[in-house]
């Protein structure tokens, strides 16, 4: 005689059973994952006064920037408007208090348009963001640009201080959520039942 194995619905498992323990583990992992993702959002908030500066085409220096606490996270946003068919490469250099080079970052801005079988299209990139962690001290951000002949937009720089790095929370949160969902599936087959219900409908 063939016996059909049926999953016990969530919440009606026998107290102290293996399935109930697995369900509790899944709940703990999913709760932990959710708390981590919320924490990632919170530490990603900017705080303190942001610095905004418009630099000429050739670039310039932003600063001095006083970092009061070791390992403070900063977000640097760089914008430049580029017309269609033009390009510009904007590089940022992080300098110490004596204006010695520490490290750099950069990206190209461009705008293109055209027409293909689906009709006209246009694409562009006119900003980038760079996050960095700095120790206590004084810093300058120096910007340089190389560009095609007709680029005329100024370079706009925004510098924000962040509460921390969301990366550790994001990684832990995603891993915990995946494990939690898998454990819950083993204990309760929530998704299997949902798919079955959809198929029946």
């Amino acid at each position: 005689m063939k016996t059909e194995k049926r999953a016990v619905p969530l919440g009606v498992q026998k107290p102290g059973s293996k399935l109930e323990t697995l369900t509790q583990i899944a709940i703990a992992l999913i709760a932990f994952g959710s708390i981590c993702l919320i924490s990632a959002l919170v530490v990603n908030f900017s705080w303190g006064k942001s610095i905004s500066k418009s630099l000429p085409l050739q670039g310039g220096i932003v600063g001095p920037i006083q970092v009061k606490k070791d390992r403070t996270v900063y977000l640097v946003e760089v914008f430049q408007r580029v017309s269609y068919g033009q390009w510009s490469s904007v590089t940022g250099n992080v300098l110490d208090q004596d204006k010695n080079y520490l490290f750099g970052f950069g990206e190209e801005f461009w705008a293109e348009s055209g027409r293909d079988s689906e009709g006209p299209w246009a694409e562009s990139k006119n900003s980038y963001k760079m996050k960095m962690t700095l120790q206590k001290g004084t810093y300058y951000f120096e910007f340089e640009s190389e560009r095609s002949r007709n680029v005329s937009g100024n370079i706009t720089i925004l510098v924000h201080r962040k509460r921390g790095s969301p990366l550790p929370f994001l990684i832990a949160g995603i891993i915990a959520l995946i494990i939690g969902v898998v454990v819950n599936e083993i204990a309760n087959q929530t998704f299997t039942k949902m798919i079955e219900a959809i198929e029946v409908d």
Partner: protein, 79 residues
């Protein structure tokens, strides 16, 4: 057996709580990004993707008319 399973869940919660504070510490330390601390510069971690290119020295980008990576300069193919 039942109390053993209960202690497994309790143990997991304690581990997750400890893990949370370790992650919080690492987050407040700005883990994962390029930077400068303890007198040295650091590369961004593998997990920080989508950011601009990172350079470790000024000579990499200057000294030639076209820059260090001429092939990537200028407009990218639009579509």
């Amino acid at each position: 057996m039942r109390s053993q399973r209960g202690s497994v869940v309790l143990g997991l919660i304690v581990i997750l709580a400890v893990l949370y504070f370790l992650i919080l510490r690492s987050s407040m330390g700005g883990w994962g990004y390029a930077g400068y601390y303890r007198g040295a510069t650091y590369y961004p971690s593998f997990w920080y993707f989508g950011g601009p290119r990172y350079y470790t020295g000024p000579s990499v980008r200057t000294g030639s008319v076209g820059g260090s990576s001429p092939s990537s300069r200028g407009p990218r193919s639009g579509k």
